[in-house]
């Protein structure tokens, strides 16, 4: 990423904020599934949700350099929050039976999930922001595992290993049912992805975003130029947790299921793989990585599921050895070489 030798930071940021024609093409392409792959809309919806999750991780991993192996904790909190909110509870209160009606309205669920995940992110950010390198990896792993264990233990609340039952999601905007073909699901997920993406894009192309990149490159130096490293990381981490929670809620609402798979180590690890595959620190890296990974996994699930681990392992090794900046990094390198011919 070259910065103009002359010109201020403002100009640089303004330049980055302009919409590149490829970006517009990308977002138009997300409308293609309606036309080209109408039978794949459920998959497209889950890709959009996973892309949102990967985007949230990019904020901390790609931009602030925080390697988190426990990010699914927030995805799971959001997923379970939205699910539990929609359930109807009956309990005894002062002698009479009270029925708490489930709040299944999707928008409400999103807000609630964002709040829960954001709070959890804020609380843990105090721990996470203080460490780097291997210690940080292990602490985020530990937090993720603790979250998974809590979800497993509290089966009176989460359904534990049997998954959450009784989820009752209302129609979107009161009108649109989550249908068998996935039209509503995909439209909803895509819309939320786009809106949040706009927000994140604004954020990374702001002085805050620049500070995050500075923190990633040189943790020690940043306070010397007046950027409070820990506070910035905490903020980024909280925002990332909130977005992850929104993604989790989307999954629960579009599938009416919530299980330990939304909070376990596998989900944390998958999203790291996706982000690196696509290219971290590039806004679109998570989106591209999620698309490639999920499509590949879907294809493998029908052809040769036992070999999925083999190919994903091989692919990881290849990406690390030959495509260190992910697919997008490789593409932009080719593009640059072609430009300079």
């Amino acid at each position: 990423m070259t910065v103009a030798a002359t010109g201020s930071a403002q100009t640089y940021l303004k330049g980055q904020s302009r919409w590149h024609p490829l970006e517009i093409a990308f977002w138009l392409a997300t409308l293609l599934p309606y036309v080209l792959f109408p039978d794949y809309l459920s998959l497209a919806s889950q890709i959009a949700i996973t892309a949102l999750f990967a985007l949230s991780l990019d904020l901390i991993l790609g931009y602030a350099g925080v390697v988190s192996l426990g990010h699914a904790a927030f995805f799971g909190i959001g997923a379970y929050a939205a699910g539990i909110l929609s359930k109807t509870f009956t309990f005894d209160f002062l002698g009479s039976t009270v029925t708490w009606p489930g709040l299944g309205e999707p928008a409400l669920g999103l807000v609630f999930a964002a709040l829960m995940a954001g709070l959890a992110g804020y609380a843990t950010s105090f721990i996470v922001a203080r460490f780097r390198h291997f210690t940080l990896i292990m602490i985020t792993l530990g937090i993720g595992l603790i979250a998974e264990e809590i979800a497993n233990r509290a089966h009176w609340l989460t359904g534990g290993s049997d998954s959450l039952q009784g989820i009752n999601i209302s129609n979107l905007l009161g009108v649109f049912r989550f249908d068998l073909y996935g039209y509503t699901a995909y439209t909803y997920s895509l819309a939320v992805l786009f809106i949040v993406f706009l927000g994140v894009r604004r954020l990374v192309n702001s002085p805050f975003g620049l500070a995050l990149r500075g923190i990633r490159e040189n943790w020690v130096r940043m306070p010397a130029i007046g950027a409070a490293s820990q506070a910035h990381v905490r903020l980024a981490y909280t925002i990332a947790a909130t977005i992850a929670g929104i993604a989790g809620a989307l999954l629960t609402q579009t599938t009416q299921t919530a299980a330990l798979g939304s909070i376990n180590f596998g989900r944390s690890a998958d999203v790291v793989v996706m982000l690196v595959l696509g290219g971290a620190g590039r806004l679109y890296g998570g989106l591209v990585g999620a698309a490639i990974y999920m499509v590949a996994r879907d294809q493998f699930s029908g052809i040769a599921p036992q070999f999925w681990f083999f190919w994903i392992g091989l692919m990881l090794i290849c990406v690390v050895m030959f495509l260190p900046n992910g697919v997008l990094g490789g593409v932009s390198a080719i593009y640059r070489r072609w430009r300079h011919k």
Binding site: T255, T257, A259, S301, Q306, W308
Partner: protein, 388 residues
């Protein structure tokens, strides 16, 4: 960006839905966890399916049977639901089958209900599954069936007055504990204590010591399959709890073939209640085991029987409906069906669509150089106790 669009276009070309499925094919979508931790379960279910089709051909009532397999990667209901949707919408399957674990079955239930397709649960053992849709039939087993039989038998014919329960702390374990205790107490026994062990638990000595502290005459154990059965069996021996002196009762998973092989002598005397063992002496089973070994070079287990019997029900139903494969016809045909399964006589309860079969009480004994589960008693026609 270009790379993405190109590959998307290629995908479209390769995967464009083919011509509408021929009228004379019945497609079955098998959804199971073929990769990951539960891969072996899915493999055995699949082996059961494959063996049935080999023995009975792939044509029934004039229709060709086609199997489409999809991997969920584990107990992921969101993936199972999506795969079920894709199978119904894209591949136009007539029947959904498989389901290694409960969350997968719960995820797909809504799809079966909405699309009105028969859903054959070949493994998931939580009672509530069959209640989630009118189109779900179970060919495997339910845990309450087994646990309550075990509790009842142990207090009556087993002659134990006091029991201690040790189960893994997750859905099936808690189910097992609840129904064992209920039946044991109802038959006059007393539960002297209980403990729930963490699901990811490599070491049992702490929990066994807690049991030993109370010197119970009987212990009920439930752990998930895999490494834990052998580990807990060996831990009993290390803490010097002898199955020949203390009645250790469990479900079949805790004394499966690999577990008893690994435990060796310390397994002798272990009691269990289960619906299937490869060692069960019946003509049907002996033929089944022989054919299974010839094809797959290993013994069948209850997962394989779930798959095998599931296919049997589908075939017989198609024969009855003369090839009509819509959900209502098939479910109607299956309700009340009785057949001679390798496990023994079996039936699908017309009211609940759940499996009704014999539960055998077995004891581990050394036969020649092998350790096997030998039937010592039979409790006939056990229904799942939870359905109203």
């Amino acid at each position: 960006m270009n790379r993405f669009l190109v590959s998307a276009a290629l995908l479209a070309a390769v995967l464009a839905p083919g011509a509408a499925s021929a009228q004379d094919t019945v497609k079955i979508g098998v959804i199971a966890a073929y990769s990951g931790q539960f891969a072996d379960t899915a493999t055995q279910i699949d082996n059961g399916i494959k063996l049935y089709m080999k023995q009975h051909g792939d044509k029934v009532a004039g229709k060709k049977i086609e199997i489409i397999r999809k991997d969920t990667g584990g107990p992921n209901p969101d993936v199972a639901k999506r795969l079920a949707q894709e199978l119904v919408v894209r591949d136009k399957v007539d029947i959904l089958a498989g389901f290694t674990l409960t969350p997968e079955a719960l995820g797909a239930a809504g799809v079966a209900q909405e699309a009105k397709k028969l859903m054959m649960d070949m493994n998931a053992a939580t009672s509530v599954v069959t209640e989630k849709s009118d189109y779900i039939v179970r060919s495997s087993v339910t845990l309450p069936q087994i646990a309550s039989t075990a509790g009842n038998w142990l207090a009556t014919k087993g002659g134990a007055k006091k029991a201690y329960t040790m189960v893994s702390d997750f859905g099936p374990g808690i189910d097992a504990e609840t129904w064992f205790q209920k039946a044991f107490k109802a038959a006059g026994g007393e539960i002297v204590g209980s403990v729930r062990m963490p699901i990811a638990n490599p070491d049992f000595s702490a929990f066994i010591q807690k049991a030993k502290d109370l010197s119970p005459e009987a212990i009920f154990v439930f752990v998930p399959g895999g490494a834990q059965p052998a580990a807990i069996g060996k831990a009993f021996a290390e803490r010097q709890i002898d199955p020949k002196k203390v009645k250790i009762m469990s479900t079949g998973e805790a004394v499966d073939e690999q577990a008893v092989k690994a435990m060796g002598d310390v397994a002798v005397g272990r009691l269990s209640a289960w619906h299937y063992d490869y060692n069960h002496k019946s003509k049907t089973n002996e033929a089944f085991v022989k054919a299974f070994n010839a094809e797959f070079k290993r013994n069948p287990d209850f997962f394989a029987v779930g798959g095998y019997d599931g296919m049997h029900l589908i075939y017989e139903a198609l024969k009855k409906t003369k090839g009509k494969a819509d959900g209502d016809s098939l479910v109607g045909a299956i309700k009340g069906m009785k057949w001679d399964s390798p496990r023994g006589p079996a039936m699908i309860d017309p009211a609940t669509r759940d499996i009704v079969h014999n539960v055998y009480i077995r004891r581990v004994e050394k036969v020649g150089n092998n350790y096997v589960n030998v039937d010592i008693d039979t409790v006939k026609d056990v229904k799942d106790p939870t359905h109203k």
